[in-house]
């Protein structure tokens, strides 16, 4: 073989050719190990190969955008309703027509025209130290109440760059308006126990270590910590805190979703719908709740015991998750204005 033929062979091996096979192409910003097992199980059931590109949500959205009509993507999965709202607003999704979706997913957890659907739920809850905060003090405590001066120097929450916080503030704007939310946020930031640092688990650790009395963090983190997958230290810390579902006398606890949308130019549309239906099947839902400790969509599936012990019938905020995207830019600016780092 001469150099020329070697280099031609090399070049060809480097070019991704368009192969029309029995497959579904997924762009996802969920990167849990357990999702890979889920995809293999779909392939085993249906013979449809799942091709994955994972990355940051906004970066994947740019790739979808610039690939345009030539995009090989069938499905976009992300862990924040705001991103789904944005992709839909840019006109890149199409309706998913599926009886499974209609029967499993409640309307407030679907995009307009069923262009995207939730595949798992999480709530943004409060964790408190039962040694320093009594159950009576926590009763019916809402997000809005955390601006009270009695909490000065007692609250731990991560930075405002985090999309879970952006969604929470967006939901407050959606319900209370910008001016009220800004006044609230101003006092709320004054109550922080420390400059925001670390992820949600770090906030729970701060409560366990006594650095703060109340932390705001997503519900599934306590499941992860209690499972022991994160080491003994985190399990021990998780056992020191209690979980509180906020706003039970009001709107209910803030809900966000992991969701999937069907791309407008999906080259494998039938497979894509099958894939979404699979994610909503009891088998897949069971797998998700026991690995990521999110809440299921399917009524037939119970949350993991590690999470269910804190209560399952809590009142959920019915605010449409699509609003989070709509108010997200305003939420970020508001947090800049009140100096939430």
């Amino acid at each position: 073989m001469n150099i020329k033929s070697i280099s031609i062979a090399l070049i060809f091996s480097f070019i991704s050719s368009m192969v029309f096979a029995n497959e579904v192409n997924v762009y996802t910003s969920r990167h849990y190990d357990s999702d890979a097992e889920l995809y293999s199980s779909f392939t085993a059931d249906t013979g449809i190969k799942v091709n994955i590109i994972s990355g940051k949500g906004k970066a994947l959205m740019e790739r979808l955008n610039s690939e345009g009509a030539n995009s090989p993507a069938d499905i976009f999965i992300t862990v924040d309703a705001g991103n789904l709202w944005k992709v839909q607003k840019d006109g890149m999704f199409q309706s998913i027509s599926s009886n499974v979706v209609d029967s499993v997913v409640p309307a407030n957890l679907r995009g307009p025209n069923d262009e995207w659907v939730a595949i798992a739920k999480r709530s943004r809850v409060m964790y408190y130290n039962p040694l320093t905060v009594s159950a009576e003090e926590m009763e019916n405590l809402a997000y809005e109440d955390l601006s009270d001066p009695k909490w000065i120097g007692r609250i731990a929450i991560r930075s405002s760059g985090n999309m879970y916080n952006q969604s929470l503030v967006s939901s407050l704007i959606s319900n209370n308006g910008v001016a009220n939310t800004e006044a609230w946020a101003h006092r709320f930031v004054g109550n922080f126990a420390r400059k925001p640092e670390g992820n949600d688990r770090a906030q729970i650790m701060a409560v366990a270590n006594g650095e703060a009395d109340i932390a705001i963090a997503n519900s599934y983190y306590i499941g992860l910590m209690l499972s022991g997958k994160k080491g003994d230290e985190q399990r021990a810390a998780a056992r020191k805190v209690n979980l509180h579902f906020p706003s039970q006398a009001g709107r209910g606890a803030h809900i966000n979703v992991s969701g999937a949308g069907l791309m407008k130019n999906s080259p494998n549309k039938a497979n894509a719908v099958k894939f979404i239906e699979f994610l909503l099947s009891d088998k897949a839902q069971e797998h998700i709740v026991n690995n990521t400790y999110e809440y299921p969509l399917s009524a037939n599936v119970a949350p993991s015991d590690l999470i269910a012990q804190f209560g399952t019938g809590f009142k959920e905020d019915q605010t449409s998750v699509a609003d989070y995207g709509k108010f997200n830019p305003e939420a970020v600016k508001l947090m800049d204005r009140v100096g939430w780092q």
């Binding site: 070019i15 990167h31 590109i53 740019e62 650095e211």
Partner: protein, 541 residues
């Protein structure tokens, strides 16, 4: 008058450049678009903080990096001391540690309940409220993180320059009454100033464009502002405009530096290479030199490796499987291919700039270099837009050929990203090759290609290898472009690490992080050996 530019030595490079600078142009073109209302918000509330934090950060990093890089390079090229032969190459090791990994190590160690503070509490039986080490999540912490991971850029170029420095000048300095330290800061350092500055430029640009470490420390810098605007306000256009401002700052830096040495020629007329006599240090002096060289290695390499190993062995040992081997292989061959292509490109470009005094090319080359100051993912988006544009052209004329999501696309992106590293190394190498050599060669009828291959290349060997080394370590660590441009089901080690690190699952991220460092080490060790033997005077050793 353009005729003199139109020949083989300029057409090819100019063609390359039009292609390669497009992504940078795409970013900069945002400046000519509309300015959204978000600008007034940025201006009123956050821009001031972004700018001051970035200035503190870059200034601090540059000072510390210059101190570490130049002093260690001087010690190892001129003195013999305790463990000097090991330290000489070990000083490069932090190059294999991405800044964000060191940032994670620092918080793991120095947070209130981090490993180091817990250790002190256990050792001295102190209460839980006692904290010995200060928190690292602030600007000084970030300065230390960047300095101890990036100083090798300055160390490498300074060492390369010190090695090739004419010893007779330094000896003349001694006979004229300068002491050893005087020789160092009055003669040796000023003579290699272009090399030091080239290294510092890279450090400044890398610090400005970094997102991972400053984000982890929650410091509001220009880069975190870019991402906040894009991710939070859904406004990528304003984000690109912010990134363009970074570009302009980089261009100003480079122009100022170019202008300041406009009339100076830093190549040596003599270029006399003689056997270098290393001065042997003994006793306390030997120990002191050892400590000065060991501290950067300890903080930038040993400390993170210890912490990562502790995490990895405690939590995740099942990582080293088939998947790991294919992932590591992906990282490895992409890095090697990119490094050679990129270095070759840099040599051809710099040769033709020198040979033809081609100012258009010189400008374009600098332009591509400043692309390094743009946060990786913004540049990656520019690259992606270029590739998808070409793809849509192919599809139009019915060619089944897709660059986006192909390895070719990925390599193009890597070359664009790391061209600055290759070019600045080759350029500072060329500055030390006397131009009179070219004239002599020309009078002996050696010009063009033969001049490059038989005269310049042997003289540039050290620079060539250094460039390959820098690009390899850059590509192995590269994340944003890989994430957004990679083919389906394709992972590199950096991607693997990111997937865990993004969720701050550092115990899971530890094993692939160590792997990045180890894979990065292979070429570093091999190339350092080659660089050492390429030292002209040491061949007869």
């Amino acid at each position: 008058m353009f005729k003199r530019y139109l020949n083989t030595w300029s057409i090819l490079p100019i063609f390359c450049f039009i292609f390669f600078i497009t992504p940078v142009l795409i970013v900069i073109s945002s400046l000519f678009g509309e300015y959204s209302d978000n600008w007034s918000h940025l201006y009123n509330y956050v821009l001031g903080t972004y700018i001051t934090n970035s200035i503190y950060l870059v200034t601090g990093v540059l000072i510390l990096v210059a101190l570490i890089g130049v002093s260690t390079a001087w010690l190892v090229t001129n003195y013999d001391f305790f463990l000097k032969n090991i330290l000489e190459w070990a000083l490069i090791l932090p190059l294999a540690v991405p800044p964000y990994i060191l940032a994670y190590t620092f918080t793991g160690l120095f947070d209130t309940y981090g490993t180091a503070n817990n250790l002190v509490r256990d050792l001295f039986n102190l209460g839980r409220e006692f904290t010995f080490f200060p928190k690292a999540r602030n600007v000084p912490g970030a300065i230390i993180v960047f300095s101890f991971t990036l100083y090798p850029y300055v160390y490498l170029v300074s060492r390369m320059a010190f090695i090739n420095q004419s010893k007779s000048i330094l000896e003349t300095g001694r006979t004229l009454g300068l002491n050893k330290f005087g020789v160092f800061y009055k003669l040796a350092v000023p003579m290699i100033r272009p090399a030091i500055i080239a290294g510092l430029m890279l450090v400044a640009m890398e610090t400005l464009s970094d997102f991972g470490a400053v984000d982890h420390f929650a410091i509001s810098t220009f880069t975190t502002g870019i991402f906040r605007t894009w991710y939070g306000m859904y406004d990528i256009h304003t984000a690109k405009q912010l990134a363009s401002l970074l570009l302009i700052i980089a261009i100003m830096f480079i122009t100022a530096e170019r202008y300041s040495r406009k009339n100076a020629d830093y190549s040596f007329a003599g270029s006399v290479f003689r056997q270098v006599y290393l001065l042997k240090l003994t006793g306390l002096k030997s120990f002191l030199a050892f400590v000065i060289c060991f501290i950067p290695i300890f903080i930038g390499f040993i400390l993170p490796i210890l912490e990562l190993s502790y995490w990895a062995f405690n939590y995740k040992l099942d990582f080293f499987n088939d998947k790991f081997i294919s992932t590591a292989w992906n990282s490895f061959y992409l890095a090697i291919i990119t490094a050679f292509l990129c270095t070759l490109l840099a040599i051809i470009i710099n040769f033709s700039v020198r040979y033809k005094n081609n100012n258009i090319l010189k400008f374009l080359s600098s332009f591509l270099t400043v692309g390094y100051a743009v946060p990786g993912i913004i540049l990656a988006i520019g690259v992606m837009q270029l590739l998808t544009f070409i793809d849509s052209g192919f599809i139009e004329i019915n060619i089944q050929f897709v660059l986006t999501g192909s390895l070719v696309g990925l390599i193009i992106a890597y070359i664009i990203k790391s061209y600055a590293l290759a070019s600045s190394t080759i350029e500072s190498g060329y500055q030390r090759v006397n131009k009179r050599l070219d004239d002599v060669a020309r009078s002996l009828k050696t010009s063009g290609w033969p001049l490059l291959t038989s005269i310049h290349l042997p003289l540039l060997k050290t620079s060539f290898l250094t460039s390959v080394l820098l690009v390899v370590s850059e590509v192995i660590k590269e994340l944003p472009a890989t994430l957004i441009l990679r083919p389906f089901n394709f992972d590199t080690l950096a991607v693997y690490t990111y997937i865990f690190a993004a969720e701050e699952r550092m115990y899971d991220a530890a094993a692939p992080s160590i792997a990045i460092v180890m894979i990065g080490l292979l070429p570093i060790i091999i190339l350092t050996r080659m660089i050492r033997t390429s030292r002209p005077a040491s061949r007869d050793k």
